[in-house]
Symmetry: C2
Subunit: 404 residues, 2 copies
Amino acid sequence: MVKVNENYLKLPGSYLFQEIGRRTRAFQDQAPMPIIRLGIGDVTRPLAPVVVEAMVKASQEMGHKETFRGYCEETCTAYDWLRYAIQADYKRQGVEIADDEIFVSDGAKSDCGMIGDIFSADNVVAVCDPVYPVYVDTNAMDGRAGEYDGQRWTNLVYLPCTAENGFVPELPEGRVPDLIYICSPNNPTGAAATKDQLKVWVDFANQHGSIILFDSAYEAFITEENVPHSIFEVEGARTCAIEFRSFSKTAGFTGNRCAYTVIPKELERGGASLHALWNRRRASKFNGVPYVIQRAAEASLTDEGRAQTAQAIAYYRRNAEVIRDGLSAAGLAVYGGVNAPYIWARGPEGMGSWDLFDLLLKKACVVTTPGAGFGPSGEGYIRLTAFGDADATREAVERIKAVL
Amino acid sequence: MVKVNENYLKLPGSYLFQEIGRRTRAFQDQAPMPIIRLGIGDVTRPLAPVVVEAMVKASQEMGHKETFRGYCEETCTAYDWLRYAIQADYKRQGVEIADDEIFVSDGAKSDCGMIGDIFSADNVVAVCDPVYPVYVDTNAMDGRAGEYDGQRWTNLVYLPCTAENGFVPELPEGRVPDLIYICSPNNPTGAAATKDQLKVWVDFANQHGSIILFDSAYEAFITEENVPHSIFEVEGARTCAIEFRSFSKTAGFTGNRCAYTVIPKELERGGASLHALWNRRRASKFNGVPYVIQRAAEASLTDEGRAQTAQAIAYYRRNAEVIRDGLSAAGLAVYGGVNAPYIWARGPEGMGSWDLFDLLLKKACVVTTPGAGFGPSGEGYIRLTAFGDADATREAVERIKAVL
């Protein structure tokens, strides 16, 4: 008789967004005005013209025998020209990496979720609290999280991120984590770690043989100088870090699906090269990103592509400003939104995340995301995103101001 | 200190295609005529015009705010119209499945390789011998294969597929397998199981609570009436089988990346729905296939799309016939190629796979795949594929005939 992976049975389910959907639908019919959604983390601006052109051209190439492309069997399952374009993008940020340290994939979520495959089940995992749920759930699936007690998993090391520490995690006391997930700029809090703050973690990881799994999917939103775009800007990171990046939020690729993961070739543990293990995994479980999408990604990294995608980023940044200013004016303590597309706002004293969610849904017809859904330290907060339409965002903020 | 997944360290590496590449390169400079490659399983015909049109249109839609698509958040992470098109395709083959039993993905290899995630590490796994290496390697990664002794993994149940049994596996004596991989039409042997032969396995699986992981990536090549295109044509399969299908060989999508996996909703083990477990896995580790690729896949299933892709299939079938006839005329025992794009040929008495490979490389300048690379029972055989250019295929066969 087949036995299923029992770790899956311990998962509490994806209650957060289901519950948001349920409450929103239940209210929809009695809503006195159109509902505006600032909860979801999805982009809304169209792809840049140069990206669309590249996709059209690549699609047409696939229709001719001479220019048709089958399996991508090049290094790291990605075409040279895309790896070189990503390498050049790093170089512009002052980071030197080899092109064959770049693994192109269909999403940062996929890679963040699957990287656990190359690690043993008995590593100690640290996550921030609040946290992007994928880090937690995928480690639970792999058997590294222990049991779920209704709020926390028994085997995870939680790193509280609160207003007191500026939402940047401090080194843990007690158990030393082997795998450390850091997302900066952060989802959900919008906080971004400085170079000095990241150096503390790099030194810790190098000292203990830990690995930092660094998610920089939102690096395009960084505006402040002392915030690194890449963990590899920090000295010592090449011997302790893997970096996950995505075209999703940088170039509006949430419907296009392209991301990449960088594993330095000198990164070893127990004599095994993590680069070689990940390469081996992909050889058996992945065949690369579609040719047309690789061309799209390449186009987004040309001078023209970067200029065009920068306009979308600027558009979202203005939304972030509108939300920050508006919620501050409404008397909320507001964080994030400066180096990130997420705004993290603390509700009125004593009001829980879900109460605030309900209030804003019912009185302002605005959907937010309750911070408690991201972990216990998110209680009392809500997350808003800057990815909406500019007019709708302004209107939503005015409504919230009127309610609070 | 981080511990790596030690199962990866047991893998012998992807020696087969590396070794083929090495020998081919070493010979290349001294080759007296252009080398023809009939070893690789990749398509060469361009995408159908209607598919290219759909990709161009979808690419342009992504450039306008009104028609831009972000995350695909529909059922099973695939658009309704694609799930319905796939469902209709099954219906044409006489198989009724629900649209939300279809999980669209980036590749059958990905899904075959990752489906193990939802099963416990202590299931007994059966594979055919010879076998598509992905089934073996991914189970080794998950810790289900035991140790590699240079030819076989100690914990796997091998099902010999030989000329004597028509390359269709017989029920094992001894250990009862929990997970049973069946690929029909088969890679590498090109054999296809009849409905009666599959019924034996379905009954066995239902009797023992086993699951059949049925890979029908090559179903479009079936020409004989009593060979099922889907395991779900066999009575009882819905309570014991998961099916993997792909647009790769059906519509030339090896560079486009689209496939799907069907899990019946009534498929349960230990009280857990496998459909629910796979859905849960995908929620945390996948964000769906690009919009433009979903549109491409949909177009390939329209009447026009099916008529156009059928031309490519017919083209490859003619190649298969040329190879079959030519190798038979050369005195080899030839199998497959009737319901599959693969031809499995037995070399002269006493000649090993690699010896035959070397002979054909050096004397005929034709690259084949040594059967021994697919498992011990493949010794003495070579695999040839029908996916090449028609003229080159004819020429290669003439050269082989001249040598043997």
